[in-house]
Amino acid sequence: MCRNPARRYASDTIPGMSEPGSDAEIARRIAEGAEDAASCEAELCRRFLNRARLYGLKHLRFDVTAAEDLAQQVMMILLEALRAGRVEDLERVDRFMLGTCRNVAHSMRRGEARRVEMKRRLSTELAGAVTPPWDSVESRRVEECLATLPDRDARLLLLLFQEGATAAEAAASLDTTPGNVRVLQHRAIARLRDCVGV
């Protein structure tokens, strides 16, 4: 069920292959130590690694190194737990992942996780199975597009994504209301996406 060629995908959509099974089915194959457990682990990584990376980006202030550490630790914890039969509800692997993300992020923010990170690394093949979100957009293209946006749009995006401004801080800087910051952000992101082509 889980056998897939070892190659990189831009997402967990696998070109030319039929749906390899639900998350629960894949988790069950790993937990049972099935013949194709290794390929099922790879498939689970394809499905969940980027979600954990995304969680890390959001909660570790866009530090891509820390986000990668978090994602790999979380995936390893999930795989180890499945192999050891410690995941009680195989229908809700997503909940296990999210809970583990929260715990690991909490530890990392307290500076505890670095000590164990080297022990919890995915193989290069598994970790490289899915292109990380941060490698999917070319930085220079974004810089060029930011330069073409209305100044207010570019300023807002830098305030929010670079300086970590709150809605109130961004509003004060742009002489508008916190409620309007969301509206302005949606418009600025739409313009940027249009320019970058993502």
Binding site: L54, S139, E143, Q162, I189
Partner: protein, 178 residues
């Protein structure tokens, strides 16, 4: 949350504009929904690129970050009324021009124009970050700018004091081509 999340919702999430409960709900959905996860990845890639982007004018905080990351090849102090010489930085590195010597103590806003030596406006940047105490603006020069702008240029700073717009200073910079 069972409904799919809109792109705007993900953008708000990544920008930290949602309240903690909405964050939690969105995350629970994100981990259970593959199509939403894929859409969120696209926005995350964009958000990281914005986070890493080097704007043409830096805040003091961003300047310090870039220095810590080792991305700044050189910092040139440029004073008004003098012709400064600069060298385009190597690829992936940055040259920072400290446009100093301006009285910005009463400015509520500073705008900047980039001119060629004949006075033609090449680019305009409104409401740029500025350092009141040091009276300076930190401009970034990147290697690929050599393909976008002429090597010799003038930076013109305007300050808004109350409702009055006035020129603060002009800075002439001659760039050697690598």
């Amino acid at each position: 949350m069972t409904e799919h999340v809109s792109s705007d919702g993900f953008a708000d999430y990544l920008a930290g504009l949602l309240d903690p409960r909405a964050d939690d709900e969105l995350e629970a959905h994100l981990f259970s929904c593959r199509s939403c996860a894929l859409e969120a990845e696209k926005l995350a890639g964009l958000a990281v690129a914005v986070h890493r982007a080097v704007p043409p004018v830096l805040t003091a905080g961003r300047f310090e970050e870039l220095e810590r990351e080792g991305r700044i090849a050189a910092v040139n102090a440029v004073l008004p009324g003098r012709i400064a010489e600069a060298r385009f930085p190597p690829a992936e590195k940055l040259l920072v021009l400290r446009l100093g010597g301006s009285d910005l103590s009463r400015a509520r806003r500073v705008d900047m124009e980039l001119l060629d030596l004949d006075g033609k406006v090449l680019a305009r940047f409104d409401d740029v970050p500025f350092d009141v105490a040091r009276g300076e603006v930190l401009v970034v020069c990147q290697s690929h700018f050599a393909d976008l702008f002429p090597p010799d240029m003038v930076f013109r700073l305007e300050r808004l004091v109350g409702d009055t717009r006035e020129e603060a200073n002009r800075y002439t910079v001659l760039h050697a081509l690598r």
